[in-house]
Subunit: 327 residues, 4 copies
């Protein structure tokens, strides 16, 4: 392929109340607020040198406008445009300057119907990595990955691996050896994106990376102190799959955020993807804890990049199986 | 009162398979094995300078032989003997040398029917506090407290406070302001013993103190690696009551162990006991997580100090109310 | 003895610039500011339920007005007054209401010439133990101990043990078996006060307790971010003596603060004081690091409780020996 | 360039006593011993799926045989061979099977005279990432980088960037804006190799990555317990440059090992290298601590890949300046 996707880079979430969202993301979780106005808040992690990795837009109802990948160069955008068009996908250009701090961006509904975007250029800002005096709450370091529920995981898997150049680090199979869920990466961590069998296309969660496990514990304490106990959906715990030390939160609109520490280096081509059986109890939670039903059933609806309307969801191809749907 | 109880000091648990117990307590949790024979294993924490704080005895069925408190001097034992006899309790002396490493001990069934013991003298041993090369698993530091289910918490509370000289750090009340559960201490931490409304007398758990929260996380990982995932019953989490960062485990016989870090200093007489409503969701788990049913319903049976037979249990006086029974 | 000293409870430090001090103690270290005016700042740790444990008073030059111990009851104050007078010490009463939030207090120059104070009553306030949203910097939990340089350690040791009821947890001896330094406690931790051979009487440092070792690391990062790198005098490291994980800081006036985590329970009368040789390299820093000269030579001058003037210092009785003076 | 270097992958150290080395690396630091014989020990980190990342060879005197980089494919090795030959470097092939577990390897003395090696294939083994029951000491996760003292940093910098495809994350300049030290990477972390102005060519240290900062603290405690206090050369501390939380150790032969946690993602081409002034006190140690002289002056000698003899060292081009030489 003649394009180079670097990594999962940002998401745009529609939220119903900016003040509520700011209180959650900035005051409680410690995101850095780069800039904001009456309609939008731009957030980044403490180690990020780019303008933002999360955009919260005021809207009538919660949804996901787009999830975005950074590519190596502007030329990669043209190559991706050609590639998608040749494959019969309808792309859409968003010109430079249209989106705050962003160069031109290419949007398309991917093979599962997820609204994805590619861009090469975003304004850079001062990195706060060593401004420890500003560390608050979860001390969020950077965006790490997207996790999406899709109707046909194997189709998504093949498209991202064969056509977009992703590699698989770990995956889960059902009894018939069908791929039930898969963790795919461009940067050499466990994932930039994961797909799991479920009602889709929907965004299950956005993963943000923390610098150490104690920050996960402290986050729980801070959230509880601020009255956000009910927003702690699952964890802290260790995923068998990925080895991540995790915490799942629901923001005030129900969008799910994973705070995440752990991971490992996946740079080597001879690293064999780790296979997990759908029924291995240590797969989801290494320590054996069950996850709540809501974690399996609920996810954020996504928008059509062309119409701006909600994308219709479908039931998954494979069996929905609670103890096994994803991590 | 003319006796001085120092602290919760040790327990004797009957277990059905010493090898299974050793694998769990020594290999997985990192207790120090001071001494053992075919019938008994003597364990201590890394900072303990006394011979043991936990005794595992081979038996046909799991039960609790006794929970023991250390007193200041031999004279305190005589005073306690007089005190209990005057109150109509039948005491029993276990002479020095009868129990390994222990001076003479006074046993009695307490006001709730719990088998308790007092001793002043135990052999001392080398402390392994700074033998970090021997630290394993949970790196258990020392015994901290006993938690017991009893039929009538208020009666136990009054007896321990008024007659035995304990102080209350925190307590829980039901709607009618009756005491539902209480945390009582002699050493200036949150507790040496807690009582909660439940089918009793039974031992709910023994709490051991760890040196830092990361040791709790590492314990989960080690337990899962060794196949003990199912033995992790609850947590890790933060108790609202006591502020402890906790993990509850079930040993191979079902005895419950709490690994515990946090706590605070309770030395001051002007410290007012913290009152929690039975229905405050942050009381049990500060972060809002629910505890599993088994945690509420299951506990270890205790023996009669005179007959060695199981003590019959009774239903509690106050309502059994799941979300609120204890921490 | 017919009085009961509970613990090290507060200190009054004279500082030259309240704003500078506030920036250091509140903004950087995360002390809670209970109350303040143009002349004084009252600080406490996050778990403390009393009005303050540290008082900063505006003054022309830095010094220590007094270090204070809390006693069990008002009657203990009268007993202490009698005791000191009988021993020939000149005491001074500070009536209730004279000092903010404090009941009546008894002051005296102790046997080493240190200005000490006893009180039974201080106003209580809301404890912030579970206000994790307010945790900042070092997340200081509570005052733990005083460390003082004195001319004759053995004299101080005998007085505090024999006359005031302290116990010794650890001590250091010189070649001739003379006591070079000693750690003494009333509450069952390693110490409430330590004495070491040095130019005295001076206050070497006040120790504050942190909840976990990671808070020590985070403190260094926050201090460096705020330009306080030069205020980090020693550490982080592990003391062999006491097993504490420590960090020594100098405040803007040069007063030394120890941030401290670790310690162990010293409740048992059969715990034998740990003896260290002055030349054991692991005594001071378990990991073998040397401490800087300033840490050995510099300390805060103290005032006379009657005249308010600086107390004259004398050289110590035993040899000053750098690698061994104290921890 | 038509080759793809993936990452720093392994080193071969000559040591004088295998048993001493095993005690240090395996017993104290917790490396996994994959395999060994009378002449050699093969070690790896807990997350590594390859046979080894560190080889210890019995020898008469300590030295560095080679430092190795993993490339994407066998074809890359041929391309590198052509490249070096065209540039006038004399390469040497080590055939597959000659080195335990390794495919064919290409060796060459690099532009600074350092013995480097490239390989594409190494036997894979079971990863122990989730064998937490085997975690010991430092719980070393994986090799991270090499740090080398060279005579002409700017020459090395240009060669690795322009010819070998490395990127620069951070660098230090002297007063005249000459590059004094540089951190270069292929994998998107701060570095795979760093060069600093010093007597060279020598290997200053090998960096290994730990999973969390508490493991650094625990390592110090374990080392001290085992009598390795004198082997702790510097730290724990935070580097300003790289933001790493570090600990420097000297192995029984004096080879320097860095244990390392922190780092950040350097995947983006628009990330601008961070420039540090040689005299910025926070550059080396963010907290302001000085490093010991030995850390600046001592390093491991390297061998000639053709003759196996020690490579002669030269003084550096730029001034040797203690507070600034490297991190």
């Amino acid at each position: 392929m003649d394009f180079n996707i670097i990594r999962a880079a940002r998401a745009i979430l529609n939220v119903t109340n900016l003040e509520e969202s700011r209180r959650f993301y900035v005051n409680a979780l410690g995101f850095v607020e780069t800039e904001s106005d009456d309609e939008t808040i731009y957030l980044r992690g403490l180690e990020e040198h780019i303008h933002h990795s999360l955009v919260l837009k005021k809207s009538d109802e919660p949804s996901v406008e787009v999830i975005s990948y950074k590519v190596y160069s502007e030329a990669d955008l043209d190559s991706l445009d050609r590639f998608f068009n040749e494959k019969g996908f309808l792309t859409k250009w968003v010109e430079a300057g249209t989106q705050k701090a962003l160069g031109r961006a290419l949007r398309v509904q991917d093979i599962s119907g997820l609204p994805i975007e590619f861009f090469a250029t975003m304004d850079t800002v001062d990195r706060y990595l060593q401004r420890y005096d500003l560390y608050r709450g979860a001390k969020v370091q950077r965006i790490d990955h997207f996790n999406c529920a899709v109707r046909d995981v194997e189709k998504a898997y093949n498209f991202y691996i064969d056509e977009l150049g992703f590699s698989c680090s770990e995956y889960t199979t059902a009894d018939d050896e069908k791929i039930w869920a898969a963790w795919l990466h461009r940067k050499p961590t466990v994932h930039d994106v994961a797909f799991m069998n479920g009602v889709g296309p929907r965004l299950h969660h956005i993963g943000f990376w923390l610098s150490d496990p104690m920050s996960v514990i402290h986050t729980c304490d801070v959230l509880a102190s601020l009255g956000y106990g009910a927003n702690i959906e699952r964890g802290p715990g260790r995923h068998g799959l990925s080895n991540a030390f995790f915490l799942y939160l629901r923001d005030p609109d129900g969008h799910r955020i994973e705070l995440y520490n752990g991971d490992y280096l996946t740079s080597d081509p001879d690293f064999k993807p780790v296979k997990w059986d759908l029924d291995d109890p240590m797969r989801q939670t290494f320590w054996g804890h069950a996850a709540p039903d809501c974690w399996f059933n609920e996810a954020s609806n996504v928008l059509d990049v062309h119409t701006g309307k909600l994308v219709t969801t479908s039931d998954p191809l494979l069996e929905k199986k609670k103890p096994t749907i994803i991590i």
